[in-house]
Structures are given as structure tokens and as C-alpha cells.
């Protein structure tokens, strides 16, 4: 098989006495989407920050194109084509769309912005993703959540990302907006990018992903390819099966009780 674009093997990361990640492994090849699933507190944020170069792992291997790397800043990671799109988005809401799009990688000659070119590029790139903006000077805070997420993805792709790390790209969005973002994820995969899709929502992860890595309390508790697992199994696995069943049982009892009460009151 081809060498994975990005692979981490048994990485561990601690903050003081808290072990945020223990022996987590994950890989993604070109044209594949790997979903990293976990509930709140599973270590997803630390995992993303480790992959994106914010803080290097304490132990374990980080390979890009099969070569070991050690990133000390997100800039290092981006130079190797690894781009991270954050949940809270690396955006300044009051700044114009085009300034946000190019933030940190502005087209410039000796520090002078080529603002005319930049605005045209933004207009064209967003149009390719089906987003019509009336004016690249408008503050990005005026766009909808899905649009902003798509701007961030368009931006990463434009800057030559080979691996996209997406941090909960759909979690803050409505159903329709989430669908829009999922479509871009599928589109990125078609274009031969590797995507690491971090989410707590198996409904969003399952349709677009090829592999699934499950995180729980900082540990990897499952690693499946799409053939090996169905959507209900994935949901079951993620929520810790037995617990969910117990919860369902409990909810049913509550409902039954209230129905009985209602019928008593109505007689």
C-alpha cells in the first residue's frame, strides 16, 4: 500500500500529572478520510494540537510521508502541508473576509500587501465552493457558521494543504449547514487530500470517512475501517454500549411513569 501522508504511532502527551494522550495511533493516506471520534474530554483537542504542531508529543512517532518529524510550531506543520481548521476557527470576526483568508500567509512584496490580487483570489476560491460573497471587504463575522467553516477549508486547500485536520467542523452548525461542510470534506477527499475529521458525532463521521479511530479518556479504544463497522455499531462503541442501553432503559421508565401519571390525572 502507499505510504500514509501522515501517521502517528503510540503518541503520549502529559500536562503535569494529567495524561491527556496515551499510546494513540492514527494514519491517513491521500484521498482518504480518517475520523477521530470521542466524547468530551476524550483528548481530541490535545490530539489535534499535537498533530498541528502546537505542542510536540512527549513520546511516540510522528511521520510525514514516512519520515519522522518533530514540529515545534503550526508553521512547521504547514510547511509540510498539514493544515488545521479549528472549531472556533482561526478568524478575527471584525476583519474583512480577504484579510482572514490570507492571515499568516499574506500575498505581499517586501511586506506590502497585494490587496487587489488577494481580494480577487478570495472571490474566485469561494465561488468554486459555491459561496457567493458580495464584497471581500465585509467582516467575516457577518457570514454564517457553515460559510465561515467553508472559508477556512477553502483557505487550507488554497495554501497547498495535503492533509486537512478538521476540529469539530460540524458541531456548531445546523443540519443543512453541516451538510454543506460534509460535502466539502468529501470534495477534498476526491481531490486527493488526506483528511483527519475530528468529531463527536458518528452521524456526521460515518458517511464521509474511510477509517475510524475511537478515543476515550486519552486512549485509543478502537481502530476500524469502514468495512469492519456499521453505523449503529460505531455509535454503540462510541458511547460505551452498555451505558447507552442503561440510559435508554431509564428514559423509557421515565416516559412510562409520566404517561401513567397523565392517565391517572385524566380519569
Amino acid at each position: 500500500m502507499t505510504t500514509p501522508l501522515l501517521e502517528v504511532k503510540n503518541i503520549t502527551k502529559s500536562f503535569g500529572r494529567v495524561k491527556a494522550l496515551q499510546d494513540v495511533s492514527c494514519k491517513v493516506r491521500a484521498g482518504e478520510v480518517t475520523a477521530v471520534l470521542g466524547d468530551n474530554g476524550a483528548g481530541k483537542s490535545t490530539f489535534i494540537k499535537t498533530l498541528s504542531g502546537v505542542h510536540p508529543p512527549d513520546t511516540g512517532e510522528y511521520l510525514v510521508d514516512g519520515e519522522p518529524v518533530r514540529f515545534t510550531s503550526p508553521r512547521d506543520a504547514r510547511h509540510r502541508g498539514i493544515a488545521t481548521v479549528y472549531q472556533d476557527l482561526a478568524l478575527a470576526p471584525l476583519m474583512p473576509i480577504w484579510r482572514n483568508f490570507f492571515l499568516g500567509s499574506e500575498p505581499a512584496t517586501y511586506g506590502w500587501l497585494k490587496s487587489h490580487d488577494a481580494k480577487k483570489i478570495v472571490h474566485d476560491e469561494l465561488r468554486k465552493m459555491g459561496i457567493q460573497i458580495r464584497d471581500p471587504e465585509q467582516p467575516i463575522g457577518t457570514m454564517s457558521g457553515g460559510e465561515r467553516q467553508s472559508v477556512a477549508i477553502a483557505r487550507a486547500v488554497y495554501f497547498g494543504a495535503r492533509v486537512l485536520i478538521l476540529d469539530e467542523p460540524t458541531s456548531a452548525l445546523g443540519v443543512r449547514q453541516a451538510g454543506v461542510v460534509l460535502r466539502y470534506i468529501a470534495q477534498a477527499r476526491e481531490r486527493g487530500l488526506g483528511v483527519i475529521f475530528i468529531t463527536h458525532n458518528p452521524n456526521h463521521a460515518y458517511p464521509v470517512s474511510d477509517h475510524f479511530v475511537l478515543l476515550q479518556r486519552g486512549r485509543s479504544v478502537g481502530d476500524y475501517s469502514k468495512k469492519e463497522i456499521t453505523m449503529p455499531e460505531l455509535t454503540q462503541q462510541m458511547s460505551g454500549g452498555a451505558e447507552l442501553e442503561a440510559l435508554q432503559h431509564e428514559l423509557q421508565n421515565i416516559l412510562k411513569d409520566s404517561e401513567e401519571k397523565d392517565s391517572v390525572e385524566s380519569t
Binding site: S52, V54, S73, P74, R75, R78, T84, Y86, D88, L89, A90, L91, A92, P93, L94, M95, R99, N100, F102, L103, G104, S105, E106, A108, G111, W112, L113, S115, H116, K119, R127, G130, Q132, R134, D135, P136, E137, P139, G141, T142
Partner: protein
């Protein structure tokens, strides 16, 4: 001040309409309301401040015709210039999300360093000026470094710097000279050439006016036309996000504090060379005036947005009100009241514009 809010030509609707017409109808969001570039200019921060400045000028001119004479204009441009130089640097810092309460006392400190180094070491005035610049850069660096490393509010860090400098101004000056004023700078080599740059005047206008214009143009170009300007606004708007996309946040922050310190140095030199003396109280209490000027010009207290040209117009308004009130027969004791009122109005307008931008 030829910097415009946007490129001419970009706001022209022709290519947009063509693109929109080519789109299938369901792809076009009909909820979008077209805003012309004229409307955008009318709603901009600079424009509001400029209109206010014009009204204030006309008002005082009607109340006191001497206000609009060459002498009158020179009178209000004098304080506006030094305030404006500071307001530009302070505006950039505020857009970057920070405050510098030591910016006022720093004017006195740098003036004193120039005077003390020159007189105590018996050297050329230019040597004193250079030493003072190095001093300012070091203090600015330390302010920025401390704020960045500790992540504490810059308010607190620079408040400590403010008191420490205040104390040093008194202690060192009286310790070395037994006086609170260092004078006699005229006797030293280099004073005359330094005076051309920092202390001369022409027909009732001070040389500081040229410095103000130059600094405003540099500041406006920096903010609007350079990558550094993009980084400043981003650091103030979302520093974590800026860091994540590779903006050198630490460098930007430290440079901004070094910027206010350098502006204070410039104003310090304009003062010490013009009067050939420096006093320990110079600049103390002025730090809020710079912030007020920047806010009048459209700077948000929360960072992320603001205007350099607006800040300069804010300084102009400040100077006009300060000099115009006594001329118009208003009790000058009321100046502070009007200052507060202008600040309140400016903050409310900024809040309104910010909400509009995010709705």
C-alpha cells in the same frame, strides 16, 4: 493622508453583477442587501470623526472668530500634534488588543534621559537623544515581553511600569541634580541641529506638526497596506487564532509596545529640545488622553478594530476643544466634562458599528 479605506476599483459593481447574473437563481442569496461604496465610506469610523471635527471647528470659529485665524489654528494644532503622535501608536496598540498606561510618563522619562545624559556626561545632545531612544526601546520591549509571557492584562503590567518610571523620574533627577527640572541644554554641542528637527517652528506652526503627519501616514499605511498591519488587527481580534495560522504573536505584541515607547520618545524629544529643559512631571496623567483620542477615532476597547487616521482626527478634536473652550468664553474647568462626554458618545458609536459588523 491619502490612504483610503479600500482600493479604488474594487467596490465597482461591474464584475460582481456579471458573475451574479451568470449564477443559477437558487445559488444567489437574495437576502443580501447591496451596499454601495459611498454608504461604506459614510459609515466608516474615520468619516464620523471627521464630521465631528468639522462641526467642532465651525462651531468654535463662529463663537470666537480668532479660532479660525492662522494663529488660532497654530494654537490648537500644537497640542494636537504631540497628542496625535501618541494617539497613532496607542491606536495601533489598542487594535492589537492592549493598553499602555506608561505611555504618558514615558514622555517625561525619555526627555529626562536625554537631558540628564547630555548634562551629566557633558556630551553631545545627539548622544543624549540616542541614549534616550535605546532606553525607550528597552522599556517598551519589557512591557511587551511581560504582557506576552504572563498573559496578564496589559493594564496591570503597564500600571506598574507607570509608577516605577514616575518614581525613577523623581528619584534619579533629584538625586543627580538636587532639582526637579534639568535645564541648560542650549549650552551643549548638537543642540542647534537637534532644534531644527525637534524644536523649530514656522509662521506659528511647530515642527511637531510635520512629525504628526508623517507618523499618521506611516501608521495608516502600516495598518492597511502591510502584512504587519494584518497581524496587528488579528492579534487584537483573535490572538489564539492568529497564532494557530502562524502569525508571530509575541513579536507583534512586543513591537507594538516598543512602538508606543518610541512615540513617547519622539514626543519627549519634541518637548526637551523645544524648551531646552525637562521636568519630572512631564507627561504624567496624559496616558488616558491618548486612549480617548484613539477611541474617538474608532478604536474598540476590546481590540481587533480601529483606525490610525481616526485616532489622529481624535487628537485634532481633543486639541480644538482644549484651545477653543476658553476662546469661546466657556469656563476651561469644563474641558474635562466635555472630554468625558465626547468619550461616551464615541464609545456608544463604536459599539453600534461593531454590532452592525457582526449582525
Amino acid at each position: 493622508m491619502t490612504t483610503q479605506h479600500q482600493d479604488p476599483g474594487v467596490g465597482t459593481p461591474a464584475p460582481h453583477t456579471a458573475a451574479e447574473a451568470a449564477l443559477p437563481p437558487d445559488d444567489y442569496d437574495d437576502r443580501l442587501v447591496k451596499t454601495g461604496s459611498l454608504r461604506k465610506v459614510l459609515m466608516s469610523q474615520e468619516f464620523g470623526a471627521a464630521i465631528a471635527a468639522l462641526l467642532i471647528f465651525v462651531g468654535f470659529s463662529l463663537a470666537a472668530p480668532v479660532f479660525a485665524t492662522r494663529q488660532g489654528i497654530g494654537n490648537f494644532l500644537d497640542p494636537a500634534a504631540t497628542l496625535g503622535i501618541m494617539a497613532v501608536a496607542v491606536a495601533l496598540l489598542m487594535i492589537g488588543g492592549e493598553f499602555d498606561l506608561s505611555s504618558g510618563v514615558m514622555i517625561g522619562s525619555t526627555a529626562l534621559v536625554t537631558a540628564l545624559v547630555t548634562t551629566q556626561l557633558d556630551t553631545n545632545v545627539w548622544f543624549g537623544i540616542a541614549a534616550s531612544l535605546i532606553f525607550a526601546l528597552i522599556i517598551g520591549f519589557l512591557n511587551g515581553f511581560m504582557v506576552h509571557k504572563t498573559q496578564l492584562p496589559s493594564f496591570i503590567i503597564t500600571l506598574s511600569t507607570y509608577f516605577m518610571l514616575w518614581g525613577l523620574n523623581y528619584a534619579v533627577t533629584t538625586g543627580l541634580t538636587n532639582q526637579v527640572t534639568v535645564s541648560g541644554l542650549r549650552e551643549y554641542n548638537g543642540y542647534d541641529s537637534a532644534r531644527v528637527l525637534f524644536g523649530s517652528s514656522f509662521g506659528g506652526f511647530q515642527v511637531s506638526l510635520i512629525w504628526w503627519l508623517v507618523i499618521t501616514v506611516i501608521g495608516a499605511l502600516l495598518l492597511r497596506r502591510t502584512t504587519a498591519g494584518n497581524w496587528i488587527a488579528a492579534v487584537g481580534g483573535n490572538s489564539a487564532g492568529a497564532l494557530a495560522v502562524g502569525v508571530p504573536v509575541a513579536r507583534v505584541r512586543i513591537a507594538l509596545f516598543m512602538g508606543t515607547a518610541t512615540a513617547a520618545w519622539l514626543v519627549g524629544q519634541l518637548t526637551v529640545i523645544r524648551y531646552a529643559s525637562a521636568t519630572v512631571t512631564t507627561g504624567i496623567g496624559q496616558e488616558f488622553n491618548f486612549i480617548i483620542a484613539a477611541v474617538i477615532g474608532g478604536c474598540l476597547l476590546t481590540g481587533g478594530a480601529g483606525s490610525v487616521i481616526g485616532a489622529s482626527i481624535g487628537a485634532l478634536i481633543f486639541g480644538m476643544v482644549q484651545q477653543g473652550m476658553p476662546l469661546a468664553g466657556l469656563p476651561s474647568e469644563l474641558f474635562k466634562f466635555f472630554l468625558g462626554a465626547i468619550l461616551l458618545v464615541a464609545v456608544l458609536v463604536n459599539l453600534f458599528l461593531k454590532k452592525r459588523a457582526q449582525s
